[in-house]
């Protein structure tokens, strides 16, 4: 039976408006609400549905983060993951490093499917799924909005710029979840209690023998330049007039 690995990243909650620190060293994270990256929740939901259809036997949630990322892994366990692995790091790692870690875990676990979010809403890099696939030497099906499994082949509908593209990939493979793949379930209280008893293993990043430095330095972080505030027009005539004066209509 198939085994599914799902990536879970701890990120600043979707509803938080982040502030850049005045010294340009990064964004202020103290006291800010943290959550599971929304796309990772969709990835996990998909893994759980595949298992519930009887098409997989185990769902393993993996996070690469600090000690605190255990909270997000507990959420993943409450949603229904069978067990969790935290690869403990002292600070955020580059997607290339995260990908090397995920490949190491995928190989160790003999995973058949690795399902990740299409991007994390903190760094917005959208790199990890293709990087994992490349380093693992496996197919990738990014921006998935539908995944169908049959034997050793997955048929995937992808959200691309031109519309919806369908591709077929041989398993094992890496998938990245797009918004319309599913709607993640809500966690119920009894599930939170049950999740406390599920296994959560912690692996030290240093034990994997992967270099943390990939030669990319953050020099400076700054807030975006604000748009100057415009005017409120009183009616359609004034709006049309203003746009005509600018030669826009």
């Amino acid at each position: 039976m198939r085994k599914i690995l799902v990536g879970i990243k701890r990120v600043v909650d979707y509803n938080v408006r982040v502030r850049v620190k005045p010294d340009g060293s990064g964004v202020a994270l103290e006291g800010v609400k943290m959550s599971v990256n929304p796309f990772d929740e969709i990835a996990l939901e998909e893994a759980l549905r595949i298992k519930e259809r009887g098409e997989a036997s185990e769902v393993v949630a993996v996070s690469i983060g600090t000690e605190d990322a255990q909270q997000q892994l507990r959420t993943a366990l409450a949603m229904g993951a069978d067990r969790a692995i935290l690869v403990k790091v002292s600070e955020a790692v580059d997607p290339l490093v995260a990908s090397r870690v995920l490949v190491a875990i995928a190989q160790q676990e003999n995973a058949d499917l690795v399902i990740l979010g299409k991007q994390a809403i903190d760094d917005d890099a959208a790199q990890t799924a293709p990087m994992v696939a490349a380093l693992w030497g496996r197919p990738q099906a990014t921006f998935a909005s539908k995944i169908t499994l049959e034997g050793s082949v997955a048929t995937v509908i992808r959200e691309v710029d031109a519309g919806l593209e369908t591709i077929a990939v041989d398993l094992p493979a890496v998938f990245s979840a797009d918004l319309r793949l599913n709607e993640p379930r809500y966690v119920k209280l009894p599930d939170i209690m049950k999740a406390k008893k599920k296994p959560l293993d912690i692996i030290e990043f240093s034990a994997l023998g992967i270099a943390a430095d990939v030669g990319l330095k953050t020099v400076f972080v700054e807030p975006p330049k604000p748009r100057s505030k415009g005017i409120v027009v009183k009616d359609v005539a004034e709006l049309v007039d203003a746009l005509q004066k600018k030669g826009l209509i």
């Binding site: 997607p95 917005d124 293709p130 369908t166 591709i167 041989d170 990939v214 972080v221």
Partner: protein, 315 residues
């Protein structure tokens, strides 16, 4: 000298405008020599198109039947083979580039800079994070190939008037068969301007209330010669197809005119439009955040004013 390889995005006949924007980014890299690489079953037409872009020094082509459709797993090893002769590999940060470039970077064993929005040096770029709320300046190591995707909204498309030489490359790498193209279904009609490159865009939000009402947006767009976009809420509700979504997780656009109709303006949406030259917001909630970024705001019921605007345009 910076030897820059820009990967062409195309439909088999023409170069995508997003690649012309990536060329502009490439040109801003100090001491740049810019080459466009066209991977296709028959690259002749696209290569000829690419060669006319101003600022392009060379076009190289790789013809292979496996390149009939663009699959990242098939293209990446070919790009890696070509990239050995270059200092930088760039592509547009479109669905195509987002799927492809990280695979290339990982095979090269280098990190990637996603969504480059400003060139600060040959190995130094700015990029947006947190839905555009924190701009990060990154510096990569000059002793390895730099891979970067280019945020199209931050760069104008390169002009025409170039006449770059075209040469064919033969690339002998084993191509995987584990990934197969099946089909493409394009929901939006193709006689409308393309959302990513249109000069005018009209987007509808949740306030439209139904797929039927969303026709009001299409109607006004037709009158104005504009492309149609949608907020995530409108796409999630099924009022508009996925490829029309504008925002952090959809398309990032920079039209001359952007009209947001019935869109409240979540930060995730605003990050997709803030490079628009002029933003018009129509919303009946005067407190909606969209009015914080709009140049012209109209606090009104969209169902009343959209027909009025159409009428005004007709007259």
């Amino acid at each position: 000298m910076s030897k820059i390889l820009v990967i062409a995005e195309h439909d088999g006949a023409k170069l995508n405008q997003a690649t012309a924007r990536a060329v502009t980014c490439a040109r801003q890299i100090p001491d740049a020599h810019v080459t466009i690489a066209v991977f296709a079953a028959d690259p002749a037409a696209v290569a000829a198109d690419a060669a006319t872009l101003a600022g392009v020094d060379a076009v190289v082509t790789v013809a292979h039947s496996a390149n009939e459709t663009a699959l990242a797993a098939v293209l990446a090893p070919q790009i890696v083979a070509v990239a050995a002769h270059y200092t930088h590999v760039l592509a547009a940060s479109t669905a195509f580039g987002k799927d492809l470039l990280p695979r290339v970077a990982a095979l090269l064993g280098v990190p990637q800079i996603s969504d480059a929005m400003a060139v600060e040096g040959a190995y130094k770029f700015k990029r947006p994070t947190y839905a555009g709320n924190a701009i990060v300046t990154l510096e990569a190591s000059p002793d390895r190939i730099l891979v970067a995707s280019v945020r199209g909204a931050s760069f104008e498309p390169a002009a025409r008037g170039g006449n770059a030489p075209i040469s064919a490359l033969s690339v002998t790498v084993e191509l995987p068969t584990h990934t197969r193209y099946v089909s493409l279904s394009a929901a939006a009609s193709s006689d409308r301007p393309d959302l990513a490159s249109a000069a005018k865009v009209i987007s509808g939000g949740r306030a439209l209330g139904s797929k039927e009402n969303f026709a009001l947006i299409y109607s006004l767009a037709s009158k104005m010669g504009a492309a149609v976009g949608a907020s995530r809420a409108a796409v999630d509700a099924g009022y508009a197809p996925n490829e029309l979504q504008v925002g952090q997780t959809g398309k990032i656009i920079a039209p001359q005119l952007y009209v947001a109709v019935g869109i409240s303006g979540a930060i995730q949406h605003l990050t997709g439009i803030k490079d628009a030259k002029t933003i018009v917001a129509i919303n009946k909630d005067a407190e909606a955040p969209i009015f914080e970024v709009s140049d012209f705001g109209l606090v009104a019921d969209l169902f009343v004013v959209l027909p009025e605007i159409e009428k005004a345009l007709a007259g």
